[in-house]
Amino acid sequence: MRHSLRGSASLVLTVLVINLVALTVLPPSAAAATAATPPAAGDVGPTYAIRNCRIVPVAGPAIEKGAIIVRDGLIESLGPVEKTNIPDDAEIVEAEGLVAYPGLISAFSNLFLEQPARAAAGPGAPSEAPTQARTQEPEEDRFPPGPGLFVLDQLKPKKPTVESFHKAGFTTVLTAPARGIFEGQSVLLNLNGEPLRPMVIRNGAALHINFTTERGGYPSSLMGTIAHIRQSFMDAGYYADRQAQYAKGPAGLKRTEYDPRLEALVPFVRDRKPVVFQCNNVEDVKRALKIIAEFKLNAMLAGANEAWRAADVLKKSPVPLLVALDFRPPASSLYATQGEEARKKAEAEIYPANAANLAKEGIGFALVSGSNGDGAAFLKAVRAAIKAGLAEEDALKALTVQPARYLGVDKSLGTIEAGKIANIVLVKGGIFDDKAQVARVFVDGVLFKYAEVSK
């Protein structure tokens, strides 16, 4: 062994800092070529040789005793250990007894989001009761925060959260906003440390929509919300058409008044940028599908913990599902309105089988952490879904290749393959075993050490 296992995240960061310092003494011309946050010019990330582990690449069959070469943040090569050349400059990561998986991806989370999600309004106001008139609010506050919001601007990464997700095997999360109807746009992050910018894989990953109501104003009901969503997409399409017409020949045409809300929506109605609908019960799934069909959106459904109940319609109009493993029956569900005994029974026996039922029906899905900010708790929920009938292989795919495909990053993430981003977790035991322990995590080739590796 040429190096000891000192190559931890902190060491890498130290190296980066040193390089940043070095950059300042470079001639101005070299620095001028770089962006606002200059990459450490001339710096190359470390090289690692992970060896003697079992490799589950997900892309193909497992390699029983293998080696993975990680260079400068990417996977350089992998194969059986005896056929792999360990480069001279590689730091050896001895991984005997460990299993290497692609870093898990949660394609929907609220990680690092400071602002707590607001509870949706409950159904069923009495028919004769006049509702409260809305309080007077400035116009621009009526649809906070709107489709133009980038959640990235609200995030505050915290080390314990990163560690909690690493320890559950996650290297990548999509973080979505959680307030309002048009909640804003999410960001796809690689959990490679604490500073936010190096984490960003894609900002504006998707537009997020929730079937909720607005504080004190219109819409104050679910049906109003649905109308508001439809009218907004209609208006955005109209806005885009008018702009196109104007661009073609402005003579004789009045220009369209600038509207930041509609402007932000245009790419989603015209250029098929992805839209994610939060679906809290079986009916939400159907409501979303109708809107998706009406506006021909490129959409996904998140939450979807009653998706199995909509299997028939989902088979007719397939749409990627981001299934949050929240087993609590939604408030409107018949499983929740029949007393505590029935509700508990449903939570313990019926809802955990959602994913298994979807798999049985041949409906594709990714498993996502959703609002669950605790990695261990989420992994526990995955185990519950497996106990309820979900095949481990399907669970693994639903946390790796499937979300990578849904998010359009399957060429760089989701499997252990040469050329892909070095997001790898090394686990003592199978990743879904009750006693699984994550020992090492690579994110963008940055090594994080957790449980001690027994030799």
């Binding site: 309004a121 159904p123 069923g124 106001a125 009495p126 028919s127 004769e128 009761a129 006049p130 509702t131 409260q132 008139a133 809305r134 309080t135 007077q136 104003g217 219109y218 819409p219 104050s220 009901s221 679910l222 049906m223 109003g224 649905i226 109308a227 439809r230 009218q231 209609m234 208006d235 109209y238 008018r242 017409q245 020949g249 003579a251 004789g252 045409l253 019960n281 079986v282 009916e283 159907k286 409501r287 109708k290 109940r309 909509a310 028939d312 319609v313 409107s332 569900s333 018949l334 499983y335 309105t337 029949q338 007393g339 029935a342 029974k345 449903a346 019926i350």
Partner: protein, 447 residues
């Protein structure tokens, strides 16, 4: 108080079945024998059979032989009637009012159907097979309503009755002017605050809708030209005005929550002015004052049998209202407006015999064929006739008797409610629970 008296064990059975299909479904075929059949439109058959095949009533008459494999229900000594129809309720919805603004015809209750609402099961227990589930009365123009069958356990899309007449909820009076509400600091009083304001804002919206239609007509005309001008711009599509345009085109009818005679007459004038159709006034406790006007205009009413005077504008209600209006030629239905009263609409209809002088046959019409006509579905339901859908209720006594109860409710030949089976199930569940409770614990607890 919704769901209080619910036979909850049916739900347990459904949970156990996991598939959520009705436990008692028979594939749309059923033969009911030896019953007193109240056809509503074709008289009473004192002792007869009724055969439903593929969800449609195939035959009604003396003795019908059971086709092979068809479930036979012996209803000797019992009464068979068309499934009861509730012309005005709010069950099976996720939210009732879009009350934030005065005019919200874009807020369609058809988009928020919740098939999990246990009030559906409550309705079935009272022989109800169809409901007009409506937007609330919080604002002058609420939203489109939806007609559902009470197919408990079926996915929501299976409940929707597509043949029904599209309707739009309007409301007048105390609710829309928010008379019972104290304006809190920081809040504004929503316009309108008076009855004249309600009339004015509705007129204004219809005038807007008329302009909107004209705009589209001009555009469509211009777009049809051989070489439409390059600068031709279509109007913005507005969901709110689209719905009002449907009303103005006669494709959608008005259902109007209204109590007082004066503003009701004013609304009728408004409808005449804009040329739209009022299908029904709802509740309309002063309807007896304007019965002839309503009858002449072909406007029906959907009302409570009793329980007036619960607010000022209901103060002048009279017990004989429904019967009186019926006798004056108004198409009357008795509604529940509730997820609880919905299970005893037959009792409410029977009250018109005492307080309106109606016959048994007439009273039964108020919850069967009359609401069917109001909803535009009398071609398919509302009476027991060959060719109509097999929506049937079986009662232990005549449905207008105070001693009657619903034993079985059938929709399109499938049994959705079976009292005997439910009672048996409940007894089994109770016995099991008792056995479980009596069994000694295998592990001693720590105190």
């Amino acid at each position: 108080m919704r769901n209080a008296a619910l036979p909850r064990f049916a739900v347990f059975a459904l949970i156990a079945a996991a598939g959520l299909l009705p436990v008692f479904a028979d594939g749309g075929d059923i033969l009911i024998k030896n019953a007193t059949i109240l056809t509503v439109t074709k008289g009473v058959i004192p002792k007869g059979d009724i055969l439903v095949v593929d969800g449609i009533i195939k035959e009604i008459g003396g003795t019908i032989a059971a086709p092979p494999g068809v479930r036979v229900v012996d209803a000797a000594g019992r009464f068979v009637l068309p499934g009861i129809i509730d012309s005005h309720t709010h069950i099976a919805l996720a939210g009732t009012n879009e009350g934030s603004e005065a005019i919200t015809p874009e807020a369609d209750v058809g988009t928020v159907v919740n098939a999990d609402d246990t009030a559906i099961l409550t309705a079935l227990s009272g022989g109800v097979t169809m409901v007009h589930t409506m937007h609330g009365s919080a604002n002058p123009i609420g939203g489109p309503n939806v007609v559902l069958k009470t197919k408990w356990g079926r996915p929501s899309e299976d409940l929707v009755v597509k043949e029904a007449l599209p309707t739009l909820k309007f409301a007048l009076g105390e609710n829309v002017k928010q008379s019972g509400r104290t304006v809190q600091p920081g809040q504004t009083q929503r316009y309108p605050a008076t009855r004249m304001g309600a009339n004015a804002i509705i007129r204004r919206e219809f005038a807007k809708a008329r302009n909107y239609m004209a705009q589209w007509d001009r555009y469509d005309q211009a777009a049809k030209a051989k070489n439409p001008p390059r600068t031709l711009v279509p109007p913005r599509k507005d969901l709110r005005l689209e719905v009002l345009a449907e009303v103005l085109r006669g494709e959608r009818v008005a259902r109007v929550h209204s109590y007082q005679a004066t503003e009701t007459l004013e609304f009728m004038e408004l409808a005449k002015e804009f040329g739209f159709k009022i299908q029904c006034f709802e509740h309309i406790w002063e309807g007896y004052k304007i019965a002839d006007e309503m009858a002449a205009a072909g406007i029906g009413i959907s009302v409570f049998a009793d329980s007036w005077a619960y607010k000022m504008e209901a103060a002048e209600g009279i017990a004989g209202m429904a019967g009186y209006c019926h006798n004056r030629g108004v198409l009357v239905s008795i509604n529940s407006d509730s997820g609880e009263r919905i299970r005893r609409l037959f009792n409410d209809a029977a009250k018109t015999m005492k307080y309106g002088g109606l016959s048994e046959e007439e009273a039964l019409k108020l919850v069967t064929i009359n609401p069917a006509i109001q909803l535009g579905v009398d071609r398919i339901v509302g009476s027991l006739e060959a060719g109509k859908q097999g929506d049937i209720a079986i009662f232990s006594e005549h449905p207008m008797s105070a001693y009657t109860r619903c034993d079985m409710t059938i929709i399109e030949g499938d049994v959705y409610f079976d009292r005997e089976a439910l009672v048996k199930e409940r007894e089994q569940a109770e016995a099991e629970a008792a056995k479980k409770a009596a069994a000694p614990r295998d592990k001693g607890g720590v105190s």
